[in-house]
């Protein structure tokens, strides 16, 4: 009896190393990429959707989760925590009125997978209104928050290459809204500029969510709302600035709550004649002025290399630390892609 157990258990209990390795890799992948697993789940469920309603629901929900959660993970990393949650779709199949009232949640209607572009748009809009800047949004003028949501929704649909959903969103949602509301249109145009140079997640979202985390749940007062509105205006001016152009009023925003500066790395010719010295002096001086975070931004290979040298020199002093780093692809006036480096520096 003992020997027969031994005969059976040996080949099953001790798997070859190659099989064990594959199992570990798969488990590790599942553990570290839950949002990618959703894409596979949706694909499989679509294949089996003839087999029951459960598969129809999974096809829709897993696809939405996959796109939103992938985007949220990337943006949360770029913005140092401004999109801290993903989404999980929970299907309501039957509920009593009492349970529905007690639950106290909005239930979004979705259609079968054939109508997935619309499902995706409504789910994304609903998600952004809660999931983007969850602590900071109450300190923004509602129109500014809505405009940021609109551009982030478009960014999600475009970055996930959801062409049908993007087309529906732009033609049926965004364009009619922008035509009807000029204030929304102007604010969306600002966020479009901020996004084009990488400031939307890396600077705007980061600063507003950090502000929210330090203030929440304090009631937003008019001076705070006016500060965040001015901050958006300030960032617009920085984003509009031509390369090498002096900015009237400077690149420091020093107010009661938001205290940041942009250190814009100079043109190659200026760097050649002046060296890194003026940059080092200016950045060091920011902290003396009361600035909390300096965003070193550079566009193009030469400037990026110089920016890294400057940052390394500052870090070597032991007083300054790198808080966040992003590389964003921007486009020059001729449409050529240019890499833009944005590094947030803080005092230790």
């Amino acid at each position: 009896m003992t020997s027969s157990f031994g005969d059976i258990s040996t080949p099953i209990g001790v798997l070859p190393w190659s099989v064990t390795g594959i199992v570990i890799i798969v488990l590790l992948y599942v553990f570290t990429h839950p949002e990618k697993i959703d894409a596979w789940k949706s694909l499989l469920a679509r294949g089996f959707s003839f087999a029951g309603d459960r598969f129809k629901r999974t096809a829709v929900s897993a696809d939405i989760q996959s796109h939103i959660n992938n985007f949220a993970a990337t943006m949360n990393s770029e913005s140092s925590g401004a999109i801290p949650y993903g989404v999980k779709i929970e299907w309501t199949k039957e509920t009593s009125k009492e349970a529905f009232i007690q639950d106290g949640q909005v239930v979004v209607r979705m259609n079968r997978f054939t109508d997935q572009p619309k499902n995706m748009v409504y789910a994304t809009m609903a998600y952004m209104s809660k999931g983007f800047l969850p602590h900071g949004r109450i300190y923004l003028d509602p129109m500014i928050a809505t405009s940021a949501d609109r551009i982030m929704t478009r960014k999600l649909l475009a970055s996930r290459k959801l062409d049908d959903a993007l087309q529906f969103y732009v033609s049926d949602v965004l364009e009619p809204e922008l035509q009807a509301d000029t204030v929304l249109r102007d604010h969306c145009a600002i966020f479009e500029k901020l996004d084009a140079c990488g400031f939307l997640p890396a600077v705007f979202a980061r600063e507003i969510e950090h502000l929210g985390l330090s203030k929440y749940p304090a009631v937003p007062n008019s001076s705070l709302l006016s500060e965040t509105t001015d901050f958006v205006g300030f960032m617009e001016k920085v984003a509009e600035r031509e390369h090498g152009e002096e900015l009237p009023g400077g690149t420091q925003f020093l107010r009661a709550n938001i205290k940041i500066a942009f250190a814009l790395i100079a043109k190659t010719e200026t760097l050649a004649s002046m060296g890194m010295g003026p940059h080092l002096l200016w950045i060091t001086g920011c902290w003396a002025n009361g600035i909390d975070t300096v965003y070193v931004t550079a566009r193009g290979n030469t400037q990026n290399t110089t920016a890294r040298k400057i940052i390394n020199r500052l870090e070597a002093t032991g007083n300054i630390q790198r808080l966040a780093e992003n590389i964003v692809t921007t486009y020059d006036p001729t449409g050529r892609p240019v890499e833009c480096l944005i590094v947030a520096l803080g005092k230790k």
Binding site: A73, K97, Q105, V106, V107, A123, V173
Partner: protein
Amino acid sequence: MFFLVGLPRKSMKAILDIDLEKVLTNLGILESLRQGQLTCGVCGELVTEQNLRCIYPQGTEVRVCCDRPGCVEKAFSNVKRK
């Protein structure tokens, strides 16, 4: 560390069209919807089975909202999560 295991997820309630009739019956609003008696709780537009986009509680009432872009967002903003 949490980047390694994905972001924490918050739930979003949804209903698929195949379950709509049963749920609306249970909530006691299917007949009103079919008789054209329901309006959007946000913008006031008439809500039908075609343009119904979300259902939400307000006090002890069940409200619906249409598929206008801002209405779903406003419904989410107005309803506090429990």
